[in-house]
């Protein structure tokens, strides 16, 4: 066998409070597609960022074609011949395909100041046809489909004479036929001796495109499998790990409780497809799925933050029309966004102001003044109720820890009398100690009769907290599990149940 193009050994990387990469090993040979899989936060993207010079490594060695190399910045990676295509597109939509590919190194004429547009287009055409990509280089990028834009990114990456191409979830925004187009291109590159690192959440794609599969979990290298010998079950069990998260399974006896929220046939473009579910009083309903499965989109649609194409929402049996967050709040729905700092809090204001700000009309005196004594009383009550650890009500929220900030947001919604609370990734960015505080809070809220939808990408969290679990994939609900029957494996199976993998075994010969 050839020498490996890339060999990474003993890679270490820590961020404050997180051991992101722990003695990670990875290698790549020319002419292969090596898939990198793992749950969210397993360390895949961090490893690739180390390889492309975005993050410096703390320890370990990287060998490129057998020679040890140092990759201090993205430019150095590019010069070596390592190119990456990010999940978010890095193209300029207003420019043409050819202009995008050669931006920054355009062929010039006339004192190196005039652009040689003909030459740019000719070179782009040559490049595209050598890759068997059928796109007119004179088209504006904004007018291309997402798939075609991705092809342009590939072409751009390759025009730097790359020998290693890293693709981070390239198919997440593509339709089935577009994926096939992309795979065609990947196979072509592979046959030309290029090494491709392929990060994906779509496990069923692995069989089709990869040669080897490396699994990571919690920042650690787990195992590398030959794709021909790997089964989906084996990959999933490696991804989620052997250790069973011992969770006191809660009884899901909410059968007799009143249904407080019912959603029927919710649709929104390609992101929400026919979503229906019921939420009962005192229930914690977990929403599981991979990134981009449409969970946040469902929450935002219910909350009126995004318009819906069709669907009905009932609150306590009555049909309601929610057109804006204001409507949602009137009906007692509160939404706690995953990005607290951007959407949930006013960081420059103090605890008291943040708690009462959405409900000021309740605290007005006769002349329209805000009555300080009343707001302080309310804020004091909430701080005691939720055990918010703040030195005073006048503490600015930005100086509080992540977990405490989260509680302030909850206090705000409770003050608004919200009975239905949607938590989107409630423990993201919160350290382990504070997490259990949040879990305790969620349990107490549910016990006091509030109904909770909890969106989370962390399976142990979903399993530990939920009475019932809804799993989504590609905008559809692919499964529903009671707490007793739920396991990480079953959730992962539902979460990777793509439309094509459901149909394909029979239809594809």
């Amino acid at each position: 066998m050839d020498k490996p193009l890339i060999l990474m050994e003993g890679i270490e990387k820590s961020f404050p409070g997180v051991h992101a990469l722990n003695q990670v090993h990875f290698d790549l040979y020319p002419g292969e597609v090596h898939a990198l899989v793992g749950e969210n936060g397993a360390g895949k993207s961090t490893l690739m960022k180390v390889l492309t010079g975005v993050f410096p490594k703390d320890a370990g060695h990287i060998y490129y074609k057998g020679k040890e190399v140092d990759i201090p910045n993205p430019r150095a990676a590019q010069l070596l011949g390592i190119s990456i295509i990010y999940q978010e597109m890095e193209l300029m939509p207003h420019l043409t395909v050819a202009q995008n590919i050669f931006i920054g190194r355009e062929p010039r004429r006339g004192f190196r100041f005039l652009l040689d547009e003909k030459e740019i287009n000719r070179k782009a055409e040559e490049l595209l046809s050598s890759l068997h990509i059928d796109i007119d280089p004179r088209t504006k990028v904004a007018d291309l489909t997402v798939a075609k834009q991705q092809m342009v990114e590939i072409a751009k990456a390759l025009s730097y004479n790359a020998e290693v191409l890293i693709m981070d979830e390239p198919t997440s925004a593509l339709s089935e036929t577009e994926v096939e187009e992309l795979f065609e291109t990947i196979r072509h590159l592979k046959n030309n001796g290029m090494g491709i690192i392929y990060i994906t959440h779509r496990l069923e794609e692995l069989k089709e495109i990869s040669d080897r599969i490396t699994v990571m979990r919690n920042g650690q290298y787990i195992d590398t499998l030959d794709t021909r010998e790997a089964t989906l079950d084996r990959i999933i069990s490696l991804m989620v790990g052997r250790e069973i998260y011992q969770t006191s399974k809660r009884s899901s006896e909410k059968e007799d409780e009143e249904v407080v929220l019912e959603v029927r046939n919710l649709n929104r473009g390609r992101v929400i497809k026919n979503v229906s579910f019921k939420l009962k009083r005192g229930e914690i309903l977990g929403f599981a799925g991979l990134l981009g499965a449409g969970r946040t989109e469902v929450a935002r649609a219910i909350f009126g933050a995004d318009p819906i194409d069709s669907g009905e929402i009932y609150i306590k049996g009555r049909r309601v029309h929610i057109k804006s967050p204001t409507d949602a709040v009137k009906h007692g729905i509160g939404y706690l966004s995953e990005d607290r700092k951007r959407y949930g809090l006013m960081l420059g204001l103090d605890v008291e102001d943040n708690i009462v700000i959405a409900t000021l009309e309740r605290f007005l005196g006769r002349l329209g003044w805000v009555k300080r004594s009343k707001t302080s009383e309310e804020a004091r009550m909430r701080v005691d109720e939720l055990d918010i650890k703040t030195p005073s009500l006048q503490q600015k929220v930005k100086y509080l820890s992540g977990g405490t900030q989260q509680k302030v947001v909850v206090a705000k919604w409770l003050t608004r009398n919200c009975d239905i609370l949607i938590f989107d990734e409630p423990t993201r960015g919160i350290d382990v100690g504070a997490k259990s505080e949040i879990y305790k809070l969620l349990n107490e809220l549910a016990e006091s009769g509030k109904s909770i939808i909890m969106i989370s990408s962390e399976l142990p969290e979903i399993l530990r907290m939920s009475h019932r679990i809804i799993v989504m994939c590609e905008g559809r609900i692919t499964g529903e599990l009671m707490a007793e029957e739920a396991t990480q494996e079953r959730i992962m199976q539902y979460a990777t149940m793509r439309t094509n993998s459901v149909i394909s075994p029979s239809s594809r010969r």
């Binding site: 430019r75 300029m92 207003h94 420019l95 931006i103 190194r105 100041f113 652009l115 007018d143």
Partner: protein
């Protein structure tokens, strides 16, 4: 069906150009029918002359707007350039050509400073150029001693703008010349390409290895160059540098660019569009004056036109 729709949306960029040109022609016809005085040769020349200074300013600021920046200082920097020309020619008795170059140079220097503050100090263009607007205004007053500077001893200076070739005033020829050069820069050169690239996706431009800071400085300096040119034309036309004039011109220039289809969110715009936009504004002013509509109302109507034009731009963007 979808294909047809797609084609239509692709074309809306060009549609906008056709649309504004059609509105210019439409306005022209309406005013011609409304008043026999409108379509007279004298009046047409008057409109061209009235467009020249604002047009040159608008051409310059179009570059900045395409990068999704803004330059609020062009009005008072234009005045500052006039004053500098006056200082060189009238106070220091240097040759006219030196004065002209000094005026243009002063504008370019202000643009260079704007660009440097914006890219190196990471200041929002709105704030940086707001500061420059006040600095240039104050300096003009200080240097001139609050009084206009007249070009009494150099009759040739006023010829720069007011001389004519085939009855067309030089100022108009300079304006068209500047527009053609600007258009070539925008579409044919590296500078133009990077102007669009920065406005379209600045981060992507940076990741592609473009020295975004340096090019931004160059783009603001180019805008300053055109501003200086406008200042010299203004001084020549009035045969004096008027230190208290200038504020408000920046907004008219920005309005002309926006009416002409330059997107305030960056990445889109043409010089031809801006030129048409400038003409729409001056035809409107001229026509309304000929119809004896009071000045106050002219301003109101111009304001409405700007809002409508920007709204059309937003509608177009939403289709995408």
């Amino acid at each position: 069906m979808e294909k047809v729709l797609k084609r239509f949306t692709i074309r809306t960029g060009a549609m906008q150009q056709v649309l504004i040109f059609a509105s210019l022609i439409g306005m022209f016809i309406i005013f011609s029918l409304a008043s026999p005085n409108f379509a007279q040769f004298e009046n047409i020349i008057g409109i061209l002359l009235a467009t020249a200074v604002n047009g040159i300013l608008a051409v310059g600021v179009t570059f900045v707007i395409i990068t999704s920046g803004i330059d609020l200082s062009i009005g008072t920097v234009m005045t500052f350039s006039s004053v500098m020309a006056g200082v060189f020619i009238t106070f220091w008795r240097l040759p006219v050509i030196v004065g002209v170059l000094a005026g243009i140079g002063a504008g370019t220097l202000c643009g260079l400073i704007n660009g440097t503050i914006i890219s190196k100090l990471k200041m929002p263009p709105f704030i940086a150029t707001l500061g420059m607007m006040m600095i240039a205004k104050g300096l003009s007053l200080v240097i001139s001693g609050l009084k206009p500077i007249y070009f009494v001893d150099t009759p040739v200076f006023s010829k720069i703008a007011m001389g004519s070739i085939l009855q067309i005033p030089n100022a108009v020829i300079v304006f068209f010349g500047a527009a053609i050069v600007a258009s070539l820069i925008l579409t044919k050169t590296v500078l133009g390409r990077y102007t669009f690239a920065i406005g379209s996706n600045e981060e992507a431009a940076r990741l592609s290895g473009i020295n975004v800071d340096a090019w931004k400085i160059a783009i603001y300096a180019l805008c300053g160059f055109f501003t200086g040119l406008a200042g010299v034309m203004m001084a020549s036309r009035l045969n004096s540098a008027q230190p208290s004039l200038g504020q408000g011109y920046e907004l008219e220039a920005i309005a002309a660019a926006v009416i002409g289809g330059t997107s305030l969110s960056g990445g889109e715009g043409t010089i031809l569009g801006t030129v048409i936009g400038a003409f729409i504004m001056s035809v409107l002013t001229n026509g309304l004056r000929i119809l004896s509509i009071p000045q106050e109302w002219q301003t109101v109507i111009t304001g409405i036109i700007v809002i409508v034009a920007v709204y059309v731009d937003i509608l177009r963007r939403h289709q995408r």
